[in-house]
Assembly symmetry: C2
Homo-oligomer: 328 residues x 2
């Protein structure tokens, strides 16, 4: 394997988060399941937005948040995702560049606008996400920079983009390119991939050896594997991937790799404000530590520290100096 | 005077704030004067934005912030200002509506984009503002809703809009309409109105009886009046307006009205995060209290409490329940 130009390149949704607080009644009146993510049409997003409180806009997108974290940890990160030629697209691109993440996917004109995610944060700091993916789902394999993928130690793929046809093909192509160059492919599950009708496809992808490192939360891996106990889930995943990482919210995280297992407690946080991005930043910390040659336990600790920073403020991108918090 | 439909209607910049943190060196390298506001061309704004860190976007605009505060205090507020038909314009309009502020100025197509203010917040919580006013300066008297002004107890005018010709004419027209209906006209100074070449015009407006209630900070009223001592400044202003209110940052605020004076200390804040909007929210609290018939001292206290909330977080709009903090 030749030396890498980047530590991690991610493919994911290019999205601006629109974050407002609300009470539990607001969710229940609209039939929104707390903590979930649902896709919205443009009309549905407009209706929900009109009903939402005054908001702040902060760049988001699951894998993009992870790359913000990887860059904040001092590693070389790149991102591929589809924005449109509009103001939200400009904001997304600016924030990637400002964080030191290379982002060069050309914007699309004349199609859907840049994606946005309407995030409702309840007083218990839980986030309920309502995504209008817009241009994000128009990403094609054609937009990929093959040389970038070949020259990155890890290619990180976002589960949310596995649903729509075009970006799924782009991600599978990216995995193929990465493996042909002897690189590692990581994948983060999303809730919607674990439901019947979807899970079979995801399991098939895992069985075909497409993914080396898999991230998921407890609910996701239970639904995906059909197992109840956490160790059964890990065993089931470990047969299909080299490394499986399961995040458990306040209960910490566990990982299994090459027969070894490790566990970490969640890092205490003075005040949890908004859990958006906890999983994204966990993955960032874990992957960054792995790129720096740390073992499984140290990598879980790095993930846990990065996640703790993300949930202590609104928005999923790091605000504090992550390098000071997670010393790699 | 007939009963009012609104307590306050404001005319001001319709702007989205783009807020990033930076260190002092970033300001000095670019010759930016900490705490000041400068106007930028589109090109200048693009250059500064490219150099800025990753940002959060929150609706702003001085008088619009004040109306957000007035509405949050439970009073009926309306706003007139010019947005364009673009995503930032949609964000601005949404946030006004979500806060309960009536905002019905039709957006402009084909002109400049919705205005934005690049706000750099240094570790000492001071804000340095770089405004690209865009559509905001295209507001004309034609866009005003005369009936709305006639039916509002107070018409609140923003000093930043006094510089450009079209909105200045709109504001002077609004003052005329308000006075013809026996209403009160308030005006908030801006730094740029107090420099030689501008101050003569502002003093002329004050002398002609256009303004009943004037807000300014200590620097502004010193430069405007040419007086040194604060009581001299107040005396000089009180000859021209019914009520003069001078904010003094950490030193509190003073006011003079009908020969009476009152003073308030600044409310202690656990951690000052971002001073953007302190003056805007002070004006909101003061005017809301006056609308509810409170005396000068109580009105200063209300202003001081509202300002304290605004500086405890990023962004100029209230985040906590202002009605709980300022009981009117």
């Amino acid at each position: 394997m030749t030396s890498s130009q980047f530590d991690v390149v991610a493919i994911g949704d290019a999205i601006v988060d629109v974050i407002a607080t609300c009470d539990d009644a607001f969710l229940s009146e609209r039939g929104l399941v707390k903590g979930s993510m649902q896709l919205l049409s443009t009309g549905g997003a407009d209706d929900l937005y009109a009903a939402m409180g005054s908001a702040r806009e902060i760049s988001g997108g699951s894998a993009a948040n992870s790359m913000a974290g990887v860059a904040a940890l001092g590693l070389r990160a790149a991102f591929a995702g589809q924005i449109a030629t509009d103001q939200l697209g400009d904001i997304f691109a600016h924030d990637m560049a400002a964080l030191g993440v290379q982002f060069a996917t050309p914007p699309l004109s004349g199609g859907p606008p840049t994606g946005r995610c309407l995030i409702l944060v309840t007083p218990d700091a839980q986030r309920t996400m309502n995504t209008c993916p817009g241009a994000s789902h128009e990403l094609t394999a054609h937009a990929l920079d093959e040389e970038l993928i070949r020259s990155s130690t890890v290619t990180f793929l976002e589960g949310y983009l596995w649903g729509p046809e075009k970006p799924r093909q782009a991600m599978l192509k990216a995995a193929e390119i990465a493996h042909s160059a002897g690189r590692t492919v990581a994948f983060t599950l999303s809730e919607s991939l674990c439901i019947p009708g979807r899970r079979e496809g995801v399991l098939g992808m895992l069985e075909s050896g497409t993914i080396d490192v898999l991230f998921g939360n407890e609910d996701e891996v239970r639904q995906l594997t059909g197992c109840q106990g956490l160790s059964d889930c890990l065993q089931a995943l470990a047969q299909r991937v080299r490394t499986a990482v399961v995040t458990r919210g306040a209960a910490g995280a566990v990982a299994m790799s090459g027969g070894a297992t490790a566990e970490v407690q969640a890092k205490p946080v003075a005040r949890i404000v908004d859990t958006t991005g906890a999983g994204d930043l966990f993955a960032a910390g874990f992957i960054a530590a792995q790129c720096r040659g740390r073992d499984l336990a140290d990598s879980l600790t790095a993930g846990s520290l990065a996640a703790a920073e993300a949930i202590s403020h609104f928005g999923a991108r790091p605000e504090a100096d992550l390098k000071e918090i997670v010393r790699l």
